[in-house]
C-alpha cells in the first residue's frame, strides 16, 4: 500500500531541462513544487571533471550517463505486422536519466524552427496545392505560431547564453548570420564560437557554390556569460568530448549550469532523486489528476498528491506515462482513431565524407558539440519543392563534434572491413577527413506510432513503450536529394574522394541517428488529432501538462532542444498567467 504524502501544488515527473525550468519558475512564483527524478543527483563538481569524463569507452560506447537498459527500455519494430523486440542495449538513440537529464550531455546545437513549420500543413497546401503531400503523411499545424513563440525562444537562448550571429533581426537580414531564419527580436547573447578548420573548409566550398554559410548556433559558449538566473557559464575549450559527455568547464548550457542552482536555493522547491514515477493518479471521474505514485530507490511506493502534474520526463517517457495512466485515447493505426502515440517522428540524418591528402590536417579532436558552419539553403521549405516529389529538407554543415577514435576512424569506400588494409587506411585518413552532416526533417505517418508493448515489461512490472517506425518514402527521397547537394559541396571543398551516404531504409536501431524522438503527445487545436491543446495542457485532464518534444506535430529540419525550451516557457506563461488564476481547460472545444 503506497504511503500517502502531504499534498503539494506542483509535481514534475522528471528533473531534466523542462522539469528544472518549470520547477524553478513555479517555486519562484510561490508554489510548493516537488521535482521527482528517477536517476541520481549529480553536478559539475565533482562528477563531471576531466580527465575521468574524457573516457570514450565509458561514456560514448558503454553509455554511462544514459538510462539503464537493465531496468527499462523501448521495444521497436518497423511496421505493425512485425513483433516489436526490446532494444537490449541503446545504440540507435540514447535516452538520458539523472538530475539534469539529457541536456547534461547534449551537443548544444541550438536552432529555432521556422515560421512555416508551425503552420506546416497550411503553408504546404498554399504553396503546392492540396495533393502534394504524400497520402500516408499526417502533417498538421501546431496550434501555435512562430511569432507567439519568438519571445520564448529568446528567453531560452538567453538562459543558455547561446553563441551565434543573428541573420534576421526584426525582418532585416544581417550579414554573417542565417538569411533564411525567422525574425528574431535581438542578437544572440554571445558571439559565435571560433571556427575550426573543418568549418572553414566547408565555408569556402559552400560559398563557391553560392550558398549562405553561417556559424552553427551553439550552447557551448564562446565566452564567459552570466545568465538572467545569475549563473555564470565559462568559455568552451573545444575538448572534443561533448555529446554523451558532461562538461567539466561549466561551458555547456545544462540544467546544473543554467537553472538548477536557482531552483535548489528556493525553499519552495524540493528535489527527490532515485524515485521512479509509476503513474499519474486520476480521480473517479478520470478528468482530474490527484497526483502521482512513485517508487523510491528501495522500491517503496509513495503517493504524492498535487494540484498540478507536469509530465516533463522526455518525449518517449511522457507518452508512456500517459498510456500507463490512462490519460487520453491511445492511437490505433488500423482505425486511425485515438491520439496518444500518434504522429511519432524522428530525424532523417545522413552524411557525406570528404577525404583529403595528408597536407590537410583537420584535427577533428579540437571541436565542441556545436562548433562549425552550416547552410540552411536546403532546409524546410527554403527551396521550391515543386519540381521534386517530396516535402521537407535538411541543413548541411561541417559540424564535427570530435575525433574520438573508437567511433571515428573513417576509411574511403572499398577499404576492407578489417585487417592490414583497414589499419593502413585508418592511419592514412584519420586526420585528413571532414564529415558533412545532413540533418533533415522527419514527417509523421499514419503507420508510425507509439503504444504499450503487450509482452515486455520494465523492472517495476509496467509495460514498456513500443515504437513502430520506419522512414516514410518522402523522407528517403528528401535525404537522397540533399545528400547529393552535400556531396557537391564536398567536391567544391577540394576533397580528393567524396563518399555520399544518403539515408536508406529500413530504419534500424543498430546505428546511432540522433536522440530526437518527437511526437506521440502532440499539441494542436483539434482534440481529434492532438493530445494537448496549444498550451500543452491535456484535453482530457486539465491539471496535467505534458512538456517536451512529444508535443511536436512533426519534427522539422532542426534539432528539437531550442523549440522544446521555447514551448516550456510558452506553457509556463500559460500556467502562471492563466491557469493559476482560473484552473480548468484553457481552450474550449
Amino acid at each position: 500500500m503506497a504511503e500517502r504524502l502531504k499534498p503539494v501544488n506542483v509535481v514534475t515527473v522528471g528533473v531534466g531541462m523542462t522539469g528544472a525550468i518549470m520547477g524553478k519558475e513555479l517555486a519562484a512564483a510561490g508554489l510548493k513544487v516537488v521535482g521527482i527524478e528517477r536517476g541520481p543527483a549529480r553536478d559539475t563538481v565533482p562528477n563531471f571533471q576531466s580527465p575521468a569524463i574524457h573516457d570514450e569507452l565509458r561514456f560514448a560506447i558503454r553509455k554511462a550517463l544514459m538510462q539503464d537498459n537493465v531496468k527499462e527500455t523501448v521495444t521497436v519494430r518497423n511496421s505493425s505486422d512485425q513483433t516489436a523486440l526490446p532494444m537490449r542495449r541503446w545504440i540507435g538513440f540514447l535516452p538520458g536519466t539523472g538530475l539534469g537529464g539529457a541536456l547534461v550531455h547534449w551537443n548544444g546545437q541550438t536552432y529555432r524552427f521556422q515560421p512555416a513549420d508551425f503552420i506546416y500543413k497550411t503553408h504546404l497546401e498554399e504553396r503546392y496545392g492540396r495533393n502534394f503531400i504524400d497520402a500516408e503523411l499526417t502533417v498538421q499545424d501546431w496550434g501555435v505560431s512562430y511569432d507567439e513563440l519568438e519571445p520564448h525562444y529568446d528567453r531560452f537562448e538567453y538562459l543558455c547564453g547561446t553563441s551565434g550571429k543573428a541573420g534576421n533581426l526584426k525582418g532585416r537580414i544581417q550579414p554573417g548570420g542565417n538569411p533564411f531564419e525567422g525574425p528574431r527580436s535581438r542578437e544572440y547573447p554571445t558571439p559565435p564560437m571560433k571556427e575550426p578548420y573543418y568549418g572553414a573548409l566547408f565555408r569556402k566550398g559552400a560559398e563557391r557554390l553560392g550558398y549562405h554559410p553561417f556559424p552553427q548556433p551553439a550552447s557551448t559558449l564562446s565566452q564567459p556569460y552570466t545568465n538572467p538566473e545569475g549563473l555564470t557559464l565559462q568559455q568552451c575549450v573545444f575538448c572534443g568530448f561533448c555529446e554523451r559527455f558532461a562538461c567539466e568547464h561549466f561551458a555547456k548550457a545544462s540544467p546544473q549550469t543554467i537553472v538548477l542552482p536557482a531552483a535548489l536555493k528556493n525553499p519552495n522547491y524540493e528535489l527527490r532523486t532515485n524515485c521512479q514515477v509509476l503513474r499519474v493518479n486520476l480521480d473517479s471521474t478520470g478528468k482530474t489528476a490527484t497526483g502521482v505514485t512513485y517508487a523510491d530507490a528501495a522500491g517503496q511506493e509513495f503517493e504524492q498528491p498535487a494540484d498540478i502534474v507536469l509530465i516533463t520526463a522526455y518525449a518517449l517517457n511522457n507518452v508512456r506515462l500517459l498510456l500507463n495512466s490512462g490519460i487520453g485515447k491511445p492511437y490505433d493505426p488500423s482505425t486511425a482513431e485515438g491520439v496518444v502515440g500518434r504522429n511519432y517522428a524522428y530525424q532523417t540524418v545522413s552524411s557525406a565524407t570528404i577525404f583529403y591528402d595528408t597536407d590537410v590536417k583537420v584535427n577533428p579532436f579540437m571541436a565542441s558539440g556545436a562548433s562549425g558552419t552550416v547552410i540552411d539553403d536546403f532546409s524546410g521549405d527554403n527551396f521550391d519543392h515543386g519540381p521534386h516529389k517530396f516535402i521537407g529538407g535538411a541543413y548541411v554543415g561541417a559540424i564535427m563534434t570530435g575525433g574520438r577514435p573508437i567511433e571515428f576512424h573513417p576509411t574511403p569506400p572499398g577499404t576492407p572491413a578489417w585487417g592490414l588494409g583497414w589499419k593502413e587506411a585508418v592511419a592514412r585518413h584519420y586526420n585528413h577527413t571532414v564529415v558533412l552532416t545532413v540533418h533533415g526533417a522527419s514527417h509523421p505517418s499514419r503507420r508510425n506510432y507509439l503504444d504499450l508493448d503487450p509482452t515486455y515489461k520494465d523492472a517495476w512490472g509496467l509495460p514498456l513503450l513500443r515504437m513502430t517506425f520506419d522512414f516514410p518514402d518522402n523522407d528517403i527521397r528528401m535525404s537522397s536529394y540533399v545528400t547529393e547537394k552535400a556531396a557537391e559541396i564536398g567536391r567544391a571543398m577540394g576533397g580528393k574522394i567524396v563518399a555520399a551516404a544518403p539515408r536508406r531504409g529500413p530504419y534500424t536501431t543498430t546505428a546511432y541517428q540522433t536522440t530526437h524522438n518527437t511526437g506521440g503527445a502532440v499539441m494542436g487545436n483539434d482534440p481529434k488529432t492532438s493530445v494537448l491543446n496549444r498550451y500543452l495542457q491535456s484535453w482530457d485532464v486539465s491539471n496535467v501538462f505534458v512538456v517536451g518534444a512529444s508535443a511536436f506535430a512533426h519534427n522539422a529540419t532542426y534539432n528539437p532542444t531550442n523549440t522544446v525550451g521555447a514551448l516550456t516557457y510558452w506553457a509556463l506563461d500559460a500556467i502562471k498567467n492563466r491557469y493559476l488564476k482560473s484552473p480548468g481547460p484553457l481552450v474550449n472545444t
Binding site: N47, S50, N69, V70, K361, M366, I406, H409, Y430, T508
Partner: protein, 258 residues
C-alpha cells in the same frame, strides 16, 4: 647520448615529445609499474606460442585455449606491420579479458528479459547471452571444431583470415551464437581495445593513438583551434597517467556515473 634516450627524456619532462615512435620502442616500459612484457613478433606464418608473452597481466577470464584463439584472431583483425604494432602488441587480448571478467561481461546495461526471438536486422542483438557467455560459448564451439586438427593459432595467416571471413559471413551456429554475431562482437571489442584509453588494459603505450595522431584524454584547445592545420606533435595523454607519465590501469571503472 643517443637520439632515443633524448626522446625518452623529453617525454618524461613533458616537453614536446615524439608522437611517432619506431616500432618496438616504448619509453613507458622503462618506467612502468606494471610487469615488463615483450611484444610478440608479428604473426605471419607459424603462430605465436600458446600463452604468448604479450600478456602483461594474468588472464582472469580467458582460459589458455580461449586466450590462444583470441590472441591469434586479434593479430589478424588488426595486424602489426613494419611501421606500427597491431592489436596483439597493443594488449587487446588483455582488454577483452578484463571486460569479459568485469561488469560488462556479466551483463551490465543489458536488458535480459525474454521472450527471445531472432528479430529483423533492424532490431539488433536479441540473444539471451551476456558477453561473457557469448564469448565462452562461441570460442568453445570454435575450438571444438579444431579438435584433432591444426588449431587456429597455428594456421597460416592466410588460412586464419579465410576462417575469420567465414565467421563474418555467418551461417554457422557456435554454441547458440550465430557466427556473424560472434564475429561482430569480437571485432567491436578489438576496436575498443585498440583505441580506448589505456586505463582499460589495451592501447598499450597509446600506440593506436600515436598511429592516428589522437592526443588523448586531456583536451583543452581554445588557444589553438583557430590555427587551422597546426601540428600537435606531443605524445598523447591517458586519463590514467600521473605527472611522471606512468599509466595506472584500472579496467573496473563502472559504466555509470556517479
Amino acid at each position: 647520448m643517443t637520439d632515443l634516450s633524448r626522446r625518452a627524456v623529453m617525454k618524461a619532462t613533458g616537453a614536446v615529445g615524439a608522437s611517432m615512435l619506431p616500432i618496438g620502442f616504448a619509453p613507458d616500459e622503462s618506467s612502468a609499474q606494471e610487469p615488463r612484457n615483450t611484444p610478440a613478433a608479428p604473426s605471419t606464418s607459424g603462430a605465436p606460442q600458446p600463452n604468448s608473452q604479450v600478456q602483461s597481466a594474468p588472464y582472469l577470464f580467458l582460459n589458455s585455449e580461449e586466450a590462444a584463439f583470441i590472441e591469434a584472431a586479434v593479430a589478424r583483425l588488426i595486424p602489426a606491420d613494419d611501421r606500427w604494432p597491431g592489436a596483439l602488441e597493443a594488449g587487446v587480448p588483455n582488454y577483452i579479458d578484463k571486460q569479459l571478467n568485469g561488469a560488462w561481461g556479466t551483463g551490465e546495461r543489458l536488458y535480459r528479459s525474454g521472450p527471445w526471438q531472432a528479430g529483423t536486422p533492424s532490431q539488433g542483438y536479441q540473444l539471451p547471452f551476456t558477453p561473457a557467455e557469448l564469448f565462452r560459448n562461441a570460442i568453445a564451439a570454435i575450438n571444438g571444431e579444431f579438435k584433432g586438427r591444426t588449431p587456429f593459432a597455428k594456421m597460416s595467416a592466410e588460412e586464419q583470415d579465410a576462417y575469420l571471413r567465414g565467421l563474418e559471413a555467418g551461417g554457422k551456429d557456435l554454441g547458440g551464437v550465430p557466427s556473424n554475431v560472434f564475429f561482430s562482437e569480437l571485432w567491436e571489442s578489438t576496436v575498443e581495445g585498440f583505441f580506448s584509453d589505456p586505463v582499460y588494459g589495451g592501447n598499450r603505450n597509446m600506440i593506436a593513438w600515436r598511429m592516428i595522431g589522437f592526443p588523448g584524454a586531456y583536451a583543452s584547445y581554445y588557444d589553438i583551434v583557430h590555427q587551422h592545420g597546426i601540428s600537435i606533435d606531443r605524445a598523447p595523454l591517458s586519463l590514467a597517467e600521473d605527472v611522471h607519465g606512468h599509466v595506472h590501469m584500472d579496467p573496473a571503472i563502472p559504466a555509470h556515473l556517479p
